[in-house]
């Protein structure tokens, strides 16, 4: 959308959207508020472009010292967080943490390799049900289940990716969308194994020998460790030769193949890595809830994770983390607006697409690709 027009159209559009829910008076109030916000944004942007939105910090622009300082502060803050949160908020934070890792995982295939995956949550389900079944039938320890869940999801990714990824990229979106739905239907109907709609209960919580680690605080630290691991791995991947080959493939697949890059293999690899991360987090989710049912693995969940990746800034690790936190914590904080949550969410996504399509904290390369 060009120039100034978007500042005008956006408030109008939001107002029309909320009209059915809020009656005319409410819609007018929303219109006034959005218009005021839009006007403010416009003034800021045209009068002081340096302090306005486009100048939001890009992490790469900080100096090494500032970055180290920020990182240390962040680590200390994360370590101390459980001390100052009540049980409810700690639970929200743990959930958010699971989504952070999921988003980092999906980012590998979507952000780095540039392939759209629509049924990502199915791999999460593979891990969750894998652990649920292994735990209730064979009392498999949580910590053993972590790699096993990842491996199961990886195998599912391999089965799905090998035939699909030889074809053009777009097919992956459709096939994974189908896989997500099939997974949900199977979980709902294979009563003998998955308990059907009732799901599986009494899943083992994390423990090492006699030492139980199932309290929210323990889960918090487990998830925190996994976030650190995932962030470390993906930022290393970002900076590795393999990561650069993924970027090359995303930017120009033909040129990449002409360089001798086996793009099919790269895609399968990226897809399997993404799937494995989801499987891993599925195990954590099952252990946290000690209960799984098909309701937790709907298409909506896949869309949420995808939005986190897009919102935060594809291919950028801090961006994806920020996106995930924003999408989990903010709606939770505005629980009073329960019914309008999804509406606000959708409006925010669209506003993002209009005003900042590269995401909140975009990666340097993405910004270049969008020709900013």
């Amino acid at each position: 959308m060009s120039g100034r027009l978007k500042y005008l159209i956006w408030p109008l559009w939001i107002a029309v959207l909320v009209w059915p829910f809020t009656k005319l008076r409410g819609a007018l109030i929303v219109l006034a508020a959005a218009a005021a916000g839009s006007a403010l944004l416009f003034v800021l942007r045209s009068w002081a472009p340096r302090i306005a939105l486009p100048a939001m910090p890009r992490l790469a622009s900080f100096s090494g010292h500032t970055k180290t300082g920020l990182l240390i502060a962040l680590v200390l803050f994360s370590l101390a967080l459980p001390l100052c949160l009540n049980k409810y908020f700690l639970d929200v934070v743990v959930t958010a943490g699971i989504y952070v890792v999921l988003a980092l995982g999906l980012n590998i295939i979507v952000g780095l390799a540039g392939l759209l995956v629509l049924g990502y949550i199915a791999f999460y389900a593979v891990g969750a049900y894998g652990y649920a079944i292994l735990s209730t039938h064979f009392h498999l320890n949580f910590f053993w289940a972590l790699p096993i869940g990842a491996l199961l999801a990886l195998l599912a990714g391999l089965l799905l990716g090998l035939p699909t990824l030889r074809l053009r990229g777009d097919y992956l979106a459709i096939v994974t969308l189908g896989f997500g739905e099939i997974m949900r239907i199977v979980l709902n109907n294979w009563d003998g194994l998955t308990g059907g709609p009732n799901g599986i209960m009494h899943i083992g919580r994390p423990a090492i020998g006699a030492l139980a680690l199932g309290r929210p605080t323990h889960l918090y630290y487990i998830v925190l460790a996994l976030i650190a691991l995932a962030a470390l791995l993906t930022s290393r991947l970002n900076r590795s030769r393999l990561g650069r080959a993924l970027v090359a493939m995303r930017e120009d697949e033909t040129a990449a193949r002409a360089c001798g890059i086996d793009t099919t293999r790269l895609k399968v690899l990226a897809f399997c890595l993404s799937a494995a991360v989801a499987g891993l987090m599925g195990v954590v989710f099952a252990a946290k809830m000690s209960f799984v049912s098909p309701e937790s693995f709907t298409f909506w969940e896949s869309v949420m994770v995808l939005c986190m990746v897009v919102l935060g800034g594809m291919a950028s690790v801090p961006g994806v983390i920020l996106g995930a936190l924003a999408l989990i914590v903010l709606p939770e904080a505005f629980r009073g607006l329960q019914h309008y949550r999804m509406l606000v969410f959708g409006a925010a996504m669209i506003a993002m697409m209009i005003f900042r399509p590269q995401g909140l904290l975009p990666s340097r390369r993405r910004t270049l690709e969008l020709g900013e």
Partner: protein, 247 residues
Amino acid sequence: MLSRAAPAAGPAALLSLRGLRCGYGQLEVLHGISLEVRRGEIVALLGANGAGKTTAIAAISGLLPATAGAISYGGRDITGLPPDRIVALGVVQVPEGRRIFPGLTVRENLEMGAYLTENRRARAAGIERAFAMFPRLAERRDQPGGTLSGGEQQMLAIARGLMSQPALMLLDEPSLGLAPIVVDAVFDLIREIRAGGITVVLVEQNAQRSLEIADRGYLLETGAMVLEGTGAALLAHQRVRASYLGA
């Protein structure tokens, strides 16, 4: 210095296409073309827009499957091999339209050209050699490829192709859209590449310039080879003069 040892002797031709047919889906673009490239030659492939030059290059590099006919390189049948195997054998293409990777730096672009070189040291040494050969790229080593000028991007595309240490380089319209002075530089570079022992197939719209440096040339029209001859003979040929040299 630039090339690997070309595949050991055998038939005189380094590359040969025999009755090659291929196309996109139902659409056949090349209707059985034949072509021969001898070791150390520059061979020009001429033809109007849409004649199928890029298609032929894509078929040779394994990006597009042949529906009939055969491609052999160094006496070995390479029809149907995947592109990475063909690059590994020493055939590399520099695609039409300077398709460098815009978000990767100059250095990273070159690194991708050496993707099949497993040894990190060898890769780094190759990149340094490329920088020695292209000082302008060396000055811009950490600049994203997308921010280079058109001429610099074309140099980068060629340098990236050289990174795989090819024995045969397929250049698809390297002078397209460049200022005359840069075109000169590109043609000088092609001579230099051949002097370094690399055989060159040159696809060009600029028939005059390419036939001047080519040993031999082919004329492709709507998917069929219509003429073949030495560069000088083609330059003098009535058909070429009429359609491609505006004489």
